[in-house]
């Protein structure tokens, strides 16, 4: 059971595993538990397991106007690996991931540490206000930022007019990825901050007292006590962010109408599967790309988890 215990989430770093068997003394296993988890598993099978199976099935066929559906084995997979549009999309989200995720998580961590230090005026106000963007739908966030980016009635336009400068257009092909990175950072900085903050609150204060007696400074407390203690939360936040980056869809898809030259139909892997499915009617190939991305994401997430947790032992 312990080997299957999930990654520790917010607020649980270092505490006992929830999977510890509560009724080990009782040998007779009861089916009562299924009565409670049964409904979840039934819906789960319908919306998780069945689509995965169906998508694997689809990926092995090709649907043609002439000739109907034929079994093609791994041909779709081969096509994906030789598809420059797929690679371009994957490269773009990888670049996004390499730049945006560290910046966002670093900022979130700094804010969480600042809040946890108790040295701020109005800690509660800061915490709830910085968290608020999480409640804003991606659609609204993207609409707000795209209007602000705009040169017509946006802030960029205002600044250009007021100072007689010309800030480069964030919606241009060169800057669009950074502009999206800013929106995503804005949306999730508070959420990650909250994960880190909850984990920091669990650290026993006796550790800080001991460190103080030993003459440790603030920085030393952070590096020697706080960061190791919230490693679990850091790993979780990193994994969620990686999954999020590979899934990037909402922001580019909403911006597409405003910046059609900058955002192609294969801007991200997800946008690509969406375009393949709904504009190109290539469901089989879309399913293949979705599977490859799913497997790819799982491998990366798993590797990060292994790396992150290894040092804990």
């Amino acid at each position: 059971m312990t080997t299957l215990s999930p990654p520790r989430g917010a607020g649980r770093a270092g505490s006992s595993s929830p999977a510890r068997s509560p009724r080990r003394q009782r040998d007779r296993r009861s089916w009562t538990g299924w009565g409670f988890i049964g409904p979840f598993m039934a819906v789960f099978a319908l919306v998780f397991l069945a689509p995965i199976g169906y998508s694997i099935y689809l990926s092995l066929f090709r649907d043609q106007l002439v000739g109907g559906t034929t079994f093609v084995g791994f041909e779709n997979y081969q096509r994906a690996f030789e598809d420059p549009q797929f690679w371009s999309a994957l490269g773009r989200v990888s670049l996004f991931l390499a730049v945006q995720v560290p910046i966002m998580l670093f900022l979130a961590l700094l804010v969480a540490l600042a809040l946890d230090s108790g040295r701020l005026y109005g800690t509660n106000f800061f915490r709830i206000s910085i968290f608020l963007p999480y409640a804003v739908p991606a659609v609204v966030a993207t609409i707000m930022w795209s209007f602000m980016y705009g040169s017509r009635f946006g802030l960029i336009g205002n600044i250009n007019d007021a100072f007689g400068v010309s800030i480069p257009d964030p919606l241009s092909p060169e800057l669009i990825l950074a502009a999206i990175g800013n929106i995503v950072t804005w949306e999730f900085i508070g959420y990650n901050m909250l994960i880190f903050y909850s984990a920091l609150r669990v650290i026993p204060h006796s550790l800080y007292e001991a460190a103080e007696i030993d003459g440790a400074g603030q920085l030393r407390v952070i590096t020697a006590i706080k960061l190791p203690a919230i490693r679990g939360a850091l790993v979780i936040a990193t994994i969620f962010s990686i999954i999020g980056s590979f899934q990037l869809f909402n922001e580019p898809s909403i911006l597409q109408k405003l910046a059609p030259n900058a955002i192609t139909t294969y801007f991200t892997p997800n946008l690509y599967t969406y375009s393949l499915s709904f504009s190109g009617q290539q469901h089989n190939y879309a399913a293949t790309v979705a599977i490859i991305m799913g497997v790819f994401t799982m491998i990366i997430a798993y590797a990060v988890q292994l790396r992150g947790m290894r040092k804990e032992a």
């Binding site: 059971m1 299957l4 999930p6 989430g9 505490s15 929830p18 999977a19 510890r20 068997s21 509560p22 080990r24 089916w31 538990g33 009565g35 409904p39 979840f40 789960f44 919306v47 998780f48 397991l49 069945a50 689509p51 169906y54 804010v111 600042a114 108790g118 040295r119 005026y121 800061f126 709830i128 608020l132 963007p133 409640a135 804003v136 739908p137 991606a138 659609v139 609204v140 609409i143 009635f153 802030l155 336009g157 205002n158 909250l194 909850s198 103080e212 994994i239 999954i243 899934q247 909402n250 405003l258 599967t273 709904f278 879309a286 399913a287 979705a290 991305m293 799913g294 994401t297 799982m298």
Partner: protein, 303 residues
């Protein structure tokens, strides 16, 4: 009689404190200002949204983005937003409420029952259940969306509310949160005691466990609510009929209207509609702050 206590109380404020002990750190203006930069970053777009929801379409273009223009058109904008296109916004709002009540409510119910089972029962196949659910958390939701769409399309469920509600019913994160919360919040001894007293498992769940799970339930409900209220991708692919749009998809269709040939630009309504869309969730988070924050840090009261 009360002398010693009041003496202590009188003396407390005068007790000399170490300048910055761990439990009573000295407040820092510099740190507050630096964190304030992040605060400004998170709040400016929201302030921008509010300010611009008070402007007419015309003054959106000729006034400074971060300050009010001459005429205060907020109420007028709200009225127009609600009535534009035969009240499409109200229809979308009701759809969103339906999706949230059924989707997030159902997801919370399933997560509470499932998390409780994982935390408090041993049953055949439990290891398998763990493995499958944890594996599934790593599967990107959007990788599933297209096969789910195709499946639902064959079942005739697309373009109906079911297509949005059914996939919303599963929240692996909610299940995980409930599982952690239930194992901390419900002492196993209490369940044993209830069983010895002859209470049925269902009865025990409702009378003993449910009250103890309340903060966890509020937390899961709030997070599934956000997920459903803010969901865009799923309804985008599942729903073609604007009558079944949720707010997110509807708002985006209004925004795109300006870019389509012959479409009327309604930026003021898009902005006001955006404001109206976020207000309920912001209020929910502010009002329920105490509950969801205690639910999130379940088991954190170790000292």
């Amino acid at each position: 009689m009360g002398t010693p206590a009041s003496a202590v109380r009188l003396r407390t404020p005068r007790r000399p404190r170490p300048p910055h002990s761990v439990n009573r750190p000295r407040r820092s203006l510099t740190l507050t200002l630096l964190t304030g930069l992040v605060l400004v970053y998170t709040l400016v777009p929201l302030v921008w949204l509010f300010i611009n929801a008070t402007k007419t379409q015309g003054s959106l273009f000729d006034s400074f983005g971060l300050w009010f223009s001459g005429d205060f058109a907020l109420w007028d904008n709200i009225g127009k937003t609600l009535s534009y296109n035969d009240g499409a916004f109200v229809r979308w709002l009701l759809n969103t409420l339906l999706y949230v009540v059924a989707g997030a409510g159902g997801a919370t119910l399933l997560a509470v029952l499932g998390g409780y089972a994982l935390a408090k029962f041993t049953f055949p196949g439990k290891r398998g259940v763990f493995a499958v659910i944890i594996g599934a958390v790593a599967v990107p939701g959007t990788a599933l969306a297209i096969p789910t769409f195709l499946m639902f399309s064959q079942m005739g469920l697309t373009n109906t509310p079911w297509a949005v509600i059914i996939p919303s019913l599963i929240s692996p994160f909610g299940l995980y949160l409930m599982w952690v919360f239930a194992s901390e919040a419900i002492p196993t001894e209490l369940l044993e005691a209830a069983r010895i007293d002859g209470s049925s498992e269902i009865g025990t769940f409702f009378r003993v466990s449910l009250p103890l799970l309340a903060p966890g339930i509020v937390t899961v409900l709030l997070f599934t609510m956000v997920a459903t209220w803010n969901n865009y991708f799923l309804p985008l692919i599942m729903i073609k009929d604007p009558d079944w749009y949720p707010l997110t998809v509807g708002l985006n269709s209004w925004k795109d209207q300006a870019a389509t040939a012959g479409g009327e630009a309604i930026f003021n309504l898009v902005i006001t509609g955006s404001l109206l869309t976020i207000i309920p969730l912001v209020i929910a988070f502010l009002l329920l702050q105490r509950y969801w924050q205690s639910g999130l840090s379940a088991g954190s009261v170790k000292e």
